[in-house]
Amino acid sequence: MEHNGTTNGAAGPRPFGLTHDAWGRLVLTGADGRQHAGVELVRAFPLSDPRHGIALCDGHGHEILWIDDLDELPAPLVRQIEEELARREFVPVIRRVVNVSAPVEPSEWEVETDRGRTRFLLNNEDDVHELSEHRALITDAHGIRYLIPDIRHLDAVSRRLLERYL
């Protein structure tokens, strides 16, 4: 199928390149020298396996290139891709739950994340998903996702506030 990009050693140490054009769009230069502007990077498993399976898609969502394993790429390219991904993905990681306004939804949550302190509205208790044991994802009223990588690493107050949802 569209599986025409590979990162196996056979494709050489630098199978493709990424640059920005004058409008700030990401430009992919494939191994064959063809250029694609406005490329987006998409992780196939952003939560369960972020470093494997990354797709480069064009503006219409069609896959141009597929990266099986990020760590098989040359280091500078990896850094570049990681920067791009960080710019694209907004999933704050919750470090501490400060307060939950009400025992029933909709409730306002005050949390400390890796990107700073924030408040959000939780519409429905079903929007707190337990991804795997001890791992949770919260989707707020605007569809913004907040990740809790390991509930056991939260403090006691946060854990007690989360207890009801998990």
Partner: protein, 742 residues
């Protein structure tokens, strides 16, 4: 062929040299009253004996002329077997639907005999039961050895819970020992008050010298007994509560596991809500019963027996007087028990019905709202809710009278003791005040226990009703049984052969003898009007149901001789409305093979043309779908289900209207995905849109339970049969649609 008791009578009717072919016993007369009759088919005539009861049994006969034939018609529980010739109906007989197959057999026998032009009639061919290997009659394909199901056990459902208790025997024994100890500890205090009164307090009050240091000893003893009772009670409650929670968890797990293994036939006839209520509610009730009531019950019995022994040892006469109301209470319990059990069963059923309304309308809420039927649904719920209330109320009426009556009787018992004791204190042989106090303390305990035990009657009946409802599920055996001597299919090559396949839903036969062979890797398209039996045929091939007669062979072995799970690992199914479970997309694709690697999942999604739309979702393959997850369009869900089927790499692929619920553009996408899927697999596809089946090697037209035509698209068009008509109709629909500008 003819029932034994009729053989002689029948033989008398035959002419010399006449051979008997088959017989049939209709069981109704013309007015549809039950009456046994007999029809005999010979190589010359059809003979019938009029049903008994009409008049003296007499025989009639019709010669088998060339135009004579037998027909069966079935409608609403009763069938008609008609003997017709070119000029009209010669005779007819009625029978109940249970004999429908036998009647059809008779009609076919005549056809079959004619076909062989009066040649030898085969003796009924013998076949071998695919499950146990016993010889069976090939005509109906049923094995007498396998069908004799286990007799329904008559033991009370509560006693049967013991099966689940056995693995926890050690904990239960510990709990019992603790119960015994704590009950004994609870009985010590009144025994100590007796000497405290008689030896210390009363002598002291009467001005006699008394050893006061004894009082401290007795007090100390009372404190120790209280603490001992506390510790032992603590241990007892914890151990027994744990055991009962464990048992009901086991019961729930077992019920659910059993439910999962039951065939679709069972689920077809059950309401979802009722099943949920049974697995959830009834096991919970049993747990409550085991953890709270049963423990109390045990303690009560122990307490009562021990108290009775103490009472008898202190003063037998007084004890007997105290026990006076006891027989009366026992009689009352006996009276009330049956009524309570019936009441609780009814209440359980009412609760199940209420849950069913919920399970029905909440998933169907879109339809409810679309037709603005909210208030009617509210009313429907209220009706069933009212029924729950009524059934509980009926119970309460019995109960509210019963409880206080028991209290009245126990109070009566206490009064008897007081009266008798007063008499005994004043008449020789005297008893001491200390003995009297102790006695009253014990008797009060005794009756409290009796009361609580009697209140338990209700709990026992309630639990018993719940246990019955659970065992009803556990006693159901699947209608798709596992073979006794299984053949392990391994990886099949996918050759499917249907031999004389018949299938009945209840009394209605929907497939009337299908023969078809599908070669490995071939794609067969099933077409025909709805209700023709296409989906039934697929259900049989998947072994969701078993054939009523005939057999399905895959790679030369009867499908009933494969272990069901191993066989189904070879089958991939794509349904019209694919179901996604709550979980991530990756989990849903890997549903049939949870151990699949991420690379395999992606490869399957790519082949199913699902990869790109999955990448567009906010969490990619980690996106949650299903009931509470991301909503996907019909085409997207369909492609996920195709990926799911691809991933298990099945040898046999079933497509049941896989593209009929999507628009043409999406259908094109799905078609492309399907081409990857069907490559190299035996495929059976049902489709209404004939265009979907253009890749099929052969098309099979099914009409009212029979195969009408088989052939390639152009062959069938040339034959100008059913297929040509179907095709014509669809072409008209398409052109007519475009003419209207839609």
């Amino acid at each position: 062929m003819v029932p034994a008791d009729r053989r002689e009578e029948t033989a008398d009717q035959l002419q010399p040299g006449e051979t008997l072919l088959a017989s049939f016993e209709p069981d109704l007369d013309h007015r549809l009253s039950y009456a046994p009759g007999l029809i005999v088919l010979t190589d010359r005539r059809v003979l019938a004996r009029e049903p008994e009861g009409t008049a003296a049994p007499r025989w009639q006969s019709w010669p088998l002329t060339a135009s004579v034939s037998l027909r069966t018609v079935e409608h609403g529980g009763a069938g008609t077997l008609e003997l017709v010739d070119a000029g009209g109906r010669l005779a007819y007989w009625r029978y109940t639907s249970g004999r429908g197959t036998a009647a059809q057999r008779l009609a076919q026998k005549l056809v079959g005999w004619r076909a062989r032009a009066g040649g030898n009639i085969d003796a009924p061919a013998m076949a071998v039961c695919p499950s146990c290997g016993a010889a069976i009659n090939a005509e109906d394909g049923r094995c007498a050895a396998c069908e004799a199901g286990p007799a329904k056990p008559s033991v009370s459902a509560l006693v049967r819970l013991a099966v689940f208790a056995r693995p926890r025997a050690r904990l239960i024994a510990l709990g019992f020992v603790l119960t015994l100890a704590s009950t004994t500890a609870g009985l010590v205090p009144p025994y100590l008050t007796m000497p405290l009164l008689d030896k210390v307090l009363i002598p002291y009050q009467n001005g006699k010298s008394a050893d006061f240091s004894l009082a401290y000893w007795y007090l100390g003893g009372l404190v120790v007994a209280a603490f001992l009772a506390w510790v032992l009670d603590w241990g007892r409650l914890y151990v027994l509560a744990r055991v009962s929670e464990r048992i009901s968890a086991d019961l729930r797990a077992r019920t659910y596991a059993h439910l999962q293994r039951l065939s679709l036939e069972f689920f077809g006839g059950k309401r979802t809500g009722d099943l949920i209520a049974r697995v959830g509610n009834d096991t919970e009730r049993l747990c409550n019963f085991l953890s709270l009531n049963l423990i109390d019950f045990g303690t009560d019995i122990l307490m009562i027996v021990m108290t009775a022994i103490i009472l008898l040892s202190i003063d037998p006469l007084l004890a007997l007087a105290a026990l006076c109301p006891f027989p009366l209470i026992v009689w009352m319990v006996y009276r009330v028990r049956g009524r309570l059990l019936r009441g609780y069963r009814q209440a359980g059923a009412a609760w199940g019905a209420m849950t069913s309304v919920l399970a029905d309308t909440i998933p169907g809420i879109r339809v409810v709202k679309a037709f603005a039927q909210e208030s009617r649904e509210i009313e429907r719920f209220e009706v069933s809710n009212e029924r729950v209330f009524q059934s509980a109320n009926r119970l309460n009426r019995v109960w509210s009278l019963f409880g206080p009556t028991v209290t009245l009787l126990t109070t009566g018992g206490l009064l008897v003791v007081w009266a008798f004791a007063i008499w005994r204190v004043s008449h020789p042989p005297y008893i001491t005040v200390g003995v009297l106090t102790a006695f009253l303390a014990y008797i009060a305990r005794f009756y409290t226990r009796i009361e609580s035990m009697i209140r338990m009657v209700s709990a026992v009946q309630r639990a018993s009703a719940s246990a019955q409802r659970i065992f009803e599920i556990l006693d159901k055996s699947t209608s798709v049984p596992e073979p006794v001597r299984p053949i392990h299919p391994g990886r099949l090559s996918g050759r499917i052969e249907l031999r004389g396949v018949r299938f009945k839903y209840g009394a209605r036969e929907v497939l009337h003898g299908l023969d078809l062979t599908v070669e490995p890797g071939e794609m067969i398209g099933l077409v025909g009007p709805s209700g023709a039996g296409k989906s039934t045929l697929i259900n049989l091939i998947c072994r969701f149901y078993d054939v009523s007669a005939g057999a399905i062979f895959v790679d030369g072995a009867d499908v009933r001789s494969f272990p069901v799970e191993e066989y189904r690992h070879n089958i991939g199914i794509v349904l019209q409305d694919p179901f996604l479970f709550y979980g991530t997309i990756a989990e849903n694709i890997a549903y049939g093979r949870p151990d699949a690697s991420r690379a395999e999942i992606i490869a399957a999604a790519r082949a199913a043309r699902a990869h790109e739309f999955i990448l567009r979702l906010p969490c990619g393959y980690d996106s949650l779908v299903g009931e509470r997850g991301q909503s996907l369009s019909g085409g997207e869900r369909q492609r996920i289900s195709i990926a799911r089927a691809l991933l298990i790499n099945p040898r046999i692929l079933i497509l049941d209207e896989a593209t009929s619920s999507v628009d043409t553009e999406t259908e094109r996408e799905i078609q492309a995905a399907l081409e990857n899927l069907i490559r190299g697999r035996t495929t059976i596809a049902i489709a209404h849109r004939l265009s979907t089946l253009r890749r099929a090697n052969r098309l099979v037209v099914v009409e009212s339970g029979r195969i009408a035509e088989i052939g390639r698209h152009d062959e069938l068009l040339g034959a100008r049969g059913s297929y040509a008509r179907l095709h014509q109709a669809q072409m008209e629909l398409v052109t007519g649609g475009s003419a209207n500008g839609t």
